[in-house]
Amino acid sequence: MTATSDTGIGTGTTSTPGTAAVPPPGPPNDMTAHQKKRLRVRLGHRRLLTRRDRITLGLMAGVPTILHVALVWLTALASIALAFTTWDGIGFDSITWVGLQNFRELFTSNPQFWPAVEHNVIWFVVLILIPTPFGLFLAVQLDKKIRFSRVYQTAFFLPVVVSMAVIGFVWQLVYNPDTGLINSLIGANEPGHYIDWIGDPDLNLWAILIAASWRHTGYMMILYLAGLKGVDPSLREATALDGANEWQTFKNVIFPTLRPTNTVVLVVTIIEALRAFDLVFVFNKGAQGTELLSILVTNNIIGESSRIGYGSAIAVVLLVISLAVIIPYLIATFRKERRA
């Protein structure tokens, strides 16, 4: 899953699941011998462990696991359970089981739900179509051993270091209807001629997405730069000798070897789109035109109306989408790692 180790697996060793079961002649014999040795030593481990060691090990793994599982996974399960109830949050006896009612209401009669889903999808599509390729483009340019590479990298990467909340405030200075940079430059800051970037429901999502893309580009650039470091230099030299031009080299040699990075980038971008929250919250708290699933969940907690079951139902939608991405990705990654 780490970009570096992925690239290593992708370009270097070509291990197949069969190698361990059927040892082919030659070097792999060595490997199985090594594996045998490791197995032996590991079995030895168990015998070497004293009672105290076992207790220590149990605590070392147990304490962090309990904390993580209790606060992350049990609460996720509690979200699922609460999604089938109504609860005002005051006393446990007011929890009532309502079956699918929250979901029914959510899907059919909540005016904010489908727009929120749509905005989350738009968020992902925009991030994957604009800043991601642009980040890749910048990475390829900066990978050419040019002067001042570090300076450029820092400029593009700076937005990733700064808090999303701060980014929200900075971009408000750009978008503000009467004092903002854009309206001042194009002369739309006179009353009556306002372009209300933050208030207009047709514009605000796109305005925020520009800020989000601004940040995402630098993030993608760094991931791709790390990926590009793993591209075998001799491959480049070979294609250069073959007389391939820059685009051909990129298309036929470099991009295919970036496959593991692309997977990481895809997953990161989906997760970012599902997590999107801070920018919107700072901009306009998800009012008119910028609804997101994360914002709807939060509004059900810190807003005036505390509808816990209903908020949980939205969280479950978010959970299901996330797990549909996370689980296949992690299984594939861990399988690859086990093989390596």
Partner: protein, 295 residues
């Protein structure tokens, strides 16, 4: 062959293509910095001047007054202190706990290893909003009289530390487990045969070797936890207890009529992360690519 690699090594002469590339990169880099520079420019000008001359205008006077005002009026020192109170223990405890899990998973071949690591890593990838509702209720339920200022886990620094540790340890356990796996097995095996305890293996042999990874993770974690906005917005209700990023949200509510002051406040908030980043750039970037799965 040799000519090609020689070409690759030497500083390439400035051919037209290179000049074009540099022009493009300079222009893009400036465009990228523009929003931040614009905020800086606004913060350096007094409100009285910009309100009469407009924001896009030559300055009569540039001063740091907005910065000092934002700093003093909003009692920023206090909120920086709150953040420190959350971030320092959170980073240390996360590294401590996740390194123990990683040690367990990477040095001992138990059946649950892969599953355990999967649980940690997947947990870290979940959007925070998935778990916030029950967490919020749980925090309200847990009474800690005398331990936290609020008497509950809710609205306390301890509450934020706990959730940061729980959430971030997923990522760190994964990265550290990968790192520890790359250390030679003979290292710990020899010590184990010599009768060293498991704790000693962890504390005196494995952990010191993990310093580079730990440094990278510490840099990343401190920036992430410092930058956290969501947990603080939901789990802290008293303005006084807020860390700096969410306190800034309050500040902007109070002073929204003076964008210059808000700009100064926002930039002041960003300074610590920028310092950490510039000082430890290498660690930061290597940490990010060590575990590229982080959202």
């Amino acid at each position: 062959m040799s000519t090609v690699s020689a070409l690759g090594k030497q500083r390439t002469p400035l051919r037209p293509a290179r000049i074009l590339l540099h022009t493009f990169l300079v222009a893009t880099a400036l465009a990228w910095l523009a929003p931040l520079l614009w905020a800086l420019y606004a913060a350096l000008r007094p409100y009285a001047e910009t309100s009469t001359k407009g924001y896009v205008s030559w300055p009569d006077k540039l001063s740091l007054d907005n910065f000092t005002n934002a700093y003093v009026q909003s009692d920023m020192m206090h909120y920086f202190g709150n953040t420190l109170l959350i971030a320092v223990p959170a980073v240390l405890v996360t590294l401590f706990l996740s390194s123990m899990v990683a040690f367990y998973v990477s040095r001992f071949d138990f059946r649950v290893n892969l599953f355990l690591l999967l649980v940690f890593t997947a947990g870290n990838l979940l959007p925070q909003q998935v778990i916030i509702t029950p967490l919020y209720r749980l925090y309200l339920l847990i009474d800690l009289p005398g331990i936290t200022m609020s008497g509950k886990l809710y609205d306390s620094a301890l509450g934020l530390v706990l959730i940061h540790v729980a959430f971030q340890s997923g990522f760190c356990a994964f990265v550290l487990a990968n790192y520890m796996r790359s250390l030679p097995h003979e290292l710990t095996e020899a010590a184990l045969v010599d009768g060293a305890s498991v704790w000693r293996l962890y504390w005196q042999i494995v952990l010191p070797l993990c310093k580079p990874a730990m440094a990278a993770l510490a840099t990343l974690l401190s920036i992430w936890i410092y930058n956290d906005f969501f947990w603080a917005i939901v789990l802290i209700s008293t303005g006084e207890n807020m860390p700096i990023t969410s306190a800034l949200n309050n500040l902007s509510g109070q002073y929204f009529t003076d964008p210059n002051l808000v700009a100064a406040g926002a930039l002041l908030t960003a300074i610590p992360t920028l310092i950490v980043y510039f000082a430890l750039q290498r660690q930061f970037v290597s940490g990010l690519t060590l575990g590229a799965n982080k959202g």
